[in-house]
Amino acid sequence: MTVDTTLAELSDALFSVSVGLYSLAVVAFCAQLAFGRRPAAARELVGAGAAAEPPAAPEGPAAEPPAVRRYGIAAMVLTVLGALTHAGVLLFRGLATDRLPWGNMYEFATAVVLVAVVSFAVLAVRRPVLRHLGVFVMAPVVLAMVAIGLFLYAEAGPLVAALRSSWLAVHVTTAILGFGIFFVSGIASVMYLLRLRHDARVAEGTAERGSLLDRLPAPAAIDRLAHRTAVFGFPIWTFAVIAGAIWAESAWGRFWGWDPKETWAFIAWVVYAAYLHARTTAGWRGKGAAWVNVVGLGVMVFNLLYVNMVSTGLHSYAGVE
């Protein structure tokens, strides 16, 4: 098996293009946030009982002036274009090496970020009000992509013998899907917590309305987004762990051996199980549950970075020098 260098270089070039498009999308989402709600704020100044009014909850593009809506649409178009080139990165990697393009950490992380972008884009197309979260999703995406390009990059190459199994398609694909969806869920919970804190400060009088956070969707809507994405991601993650155990049984001689990656996959599963329970338990609902979800995202990222790069275990396929 030889690597087609032309296709591999095309893949690398597309990576830079998609980072560029995502950066532009961030700028456009920023513009949408920054110029949005101005007219509403002006009305509030004019209105007699402005102080007594409940915090303005953005109603979506309908309540926005057309110029701002255009920023939002431009941002969405850039995001989708970025996602297409991003998918091209993986597609051409796969064609260049004639295998599934998730055989090392660079490819895995790139695929996770793609899943996060696509899930956000799907949600934001269906519920335009969620576009106000765009900058907070896409900015971490750009940071993640830059970090992946700088620190995780690995040349296109063939798979090591241990990864040549059809379980690669099942286990790694679902792990990528689960991780990408949890990523969106975790970001939503972070935004929910920021928004709650901001609202509390406004109520105390230590902060004023008019910050970018006021242009987010209502806290309940963000929390619902976090919960629904986690509910979607949890069975996928469960499946990924089970598929991993089945693969481990035929590759390593046991289905579960508390290898560091397995341990952290288990920890993540337990934390997300705790999140789903917390979401419906008095005393944990809202803030407490959101913190659990943020911890879950932390565990997922730790599992990717620390376990692959620092600890030694059987999942040492990072390919990072």
């Binding site: 090591v160 199994s165 155990a245 035929s250 001689g253 341990t263 337990v270 338990t281 275990g313």
Partner: protein
């Protein structure tokens, strides 16, 4: 999981008039603690504890994964390691405190789920509950106007709901007729299946640990092993495994091949083996990475490979030359540079014991006298040898590694270095006393592992049930719909108040609006045509007061 625990009765509010008996008090205390343990809040805390408890197992070396790493940790942290060891931090996953956390969690789970299962079975046998008094207070509600009378309007609603697989019951109350409907019982069933399958999974796991075993052995091409604990280099067995329970299986390694890509990435490792009962001819089979041998109850895995260099040792006392060979362990899997030792305690009555500490390079390059390996394939095999003579200390009772010479014997002066050389195939190192060591070739060896885990099929079954239950629990919706007709204010018709309560799924509003629209359409299709519809006749969602 997305469903809240059923409301628990509050603790008995008023103290009993007389001082209760001791037995009664103990019972009350037990009930109180049991409720506390099985509360959802406790379950969340226990889940957190479980996650926390697993963390040291990934950050500290574990005996179950690598004894060597634990030994190294002890050497690096001589004061800290024994303290950690006393806290079971090198055996986290078999430690009593880890077991305490998950057992409490499972008790809490069972205590929470069993009453819910009983309740669910009762719910399956009882009709949907009566409609709440004020239907407009439900999360989703609507008022529908129709020209039909009470009973006919409810007939239409009942038919529409039954088509949608609702269980429907109609009751006659003091306030008039009403209708209750419910569907989505499988959601709660999924919840129960999920939680009970977790218990089953734990039990299957425990069974596999109790009755399972595994052993590993290095086998040189042409060699073999039979399934017995004495024959393994390392093995671990559950407490209920008896030595004579082991299945009679022998495996011979006939050939081992490693294949590499152009950039020296390993592309495949395969071993041609023959397996069967002791003394049998055996069945040929090729096993490889991701492709073990599966017999009834046992699996044989190819877990590693390496080189075993061969030497011929000729002693000066004129005895016939001795052929020796020892597996060298790979220290670098990408170049297969390997290290090992050959120990010869019995060369002859008047001969000193001989030991060779060696470094094997399948494709060797010597630079400045140092041998390194540049390719995992055996293109230019070379060894670097250091020879020692003296006393090996094998019979002192202190355990020694097979792959290294006991450094203590060297430090003590019992073993002395007597020569060293880099040898290509056929070359000879001659020691001062005339002993000659010739590097004559190499064999390949495979690391084979035999595993027996009677629980794993059950674990798989339980895991699949966990997933099925989870999907049912998270994807299905439990929905209740209530309807109550009242006479329209103007007379000559009925106002039907419909309300709905949904658990799970979210977006209940949209779905209810759809249901209301379809009910409205069905009602107007049934209603007799009327010449002039009064104002607000069949208009959507009119504001209707309820009694």
């Amino acid at each position: 999981m997305t469903v809240t625990a059923p409301p628990r009765e509050a603790a008995a509010p008023s103290p009993p008039p007389a001082r209760p008996s001791a037995g009664r008090r103990a019972w009350n205390l037990w009930v109180r603690w049991w409720r506390r343990l099985t509360a959802m809040r406790t379950a969340i805390i226990l889940l957190f504890l479980l996650a926390l408890a697993a963390i040291p197992g990934s950050l500290l070396p574990q005996r179950s994964l690598s004894q060597t790493n634990v030994a190294r940790y002890f050497a690096d942290h001589p004061t800290l390691a024994p303290v950690l060891d006393r806290l079971y931090l090198f055996d986290v996953f078999s430690s009593p405190w880890f077991a305490a956390v998950y057992l409490l969690l499972f008790i809490s789970l069972v205590g929470c789920v069993l009453p819910r299962a009983a309740e669910h079975f009762r719910a399956l046998r009882t009709p949907p509950p009566p409609a709440p008094r004020n239907l407009l207070r439900l999360p989703d509600s609507a008022g529908l106007q129709t020209r039909l009378d009470d009973a006919a309007a409810l007939d239409v609603v009942e038919e529409e709901l039954r088509v949608r697989r609702f269980r429907v019951v109609r009751r006659q109350t003091a306030a008039g007729p009403e209708l209750s409907a419910e569907k989505g019982y499988l959601k709660e069933a999924g919840n129960l299946v999920f939680h009970l399958s977790l218990v089953a999974l734990l039990l299957a796991l425990a069974g596999g640990k109790l009755w399972g075993y595994e052993g590993s052995v290095l086998v040189v091409e042409g060699g073999g092993f039979c399934n017995s604990f004495q024959n393994y280099d390392t093995y671990s067995a559950g407490p209920l495994v008896e030595g004579n329970d082991l299945s009679p299986l022998c495996v011979d390694l006939e050939d081992f091949q490693a294949e590499y890509e152009e950039n020296l990435t390993a592309s495949s490792f395969t071993a041609d083996i023959r397996y069967g009962g002791p003394g049998e001819e055996g069945t040929p089979q090729t096993i490889g990475v991701n492709d073990p041998l599966r017999t009834e109850g046992d699996r044989v895995y190819l877990t590693g490979h390496g080189y075993a260099p061969r030497f011929t040792v000729t002693t000066p006392d004129g005895q016939p030359p001795l052929d020796v060979s020892a597996p060298f362990l790979p220290t670098n899997p990408s170049t297969m540079a390997s290290e090992g030792a050959v120990k010869l305690p019995d060369l002859g009555a008047d001969q000193p014991q001989l030991a060779l500490q060696g470094f094997f390079a399948p494709t060797g390059v010597v630079q400045g006298g140092i041998l390194t390996s540049i390719d995992p394939r055996p293109l230019e095999p070379q060894v670097a040898l250091i020879a020692y003579q003296g006393y090996l200390g094998l019979d002192t009772g202190r355990p020694q590694s097979v792959y290294a010479i006991d450094q203590e014997q060297i430090a003590r002066g019992a073993l002395n270095e007597v020569g060293s050389a880099n040898l290509a195939l056929g070359e000879t190192l001659t020691l001062p006393d005339g002993t000659a060591i010739t590097f004559t070739g190499y064999d390949e060896f495979a690391a084979l592992q035999l595993s027996h885990d009677p629980g794993q099929v059950w674990v798989l079954g339980a895991a699949i049930a966990v997933l099925v239950g989870l999907l049912g629990m998270l994807l299905l919706r439990r929905e209740r719909v209530f309807a109550r007709p009242t006479a329209a204010p103007g007379g000559g018709g009925t106002v039907l108040t419909v309300g709905s309560l949904t658990r799970g799924g979210g977006e209940g509003g949209e779905r209810f609006a759809g249901l209301a629209d379809e009910l409205r359409a069905a009602l107007s299709a049934r209603a007799p045509a009327r010449p002039t519809p009064p104002a607000g006749g069949v208009s959507p969602d009119p504001e209707v007061p309820t009694p």
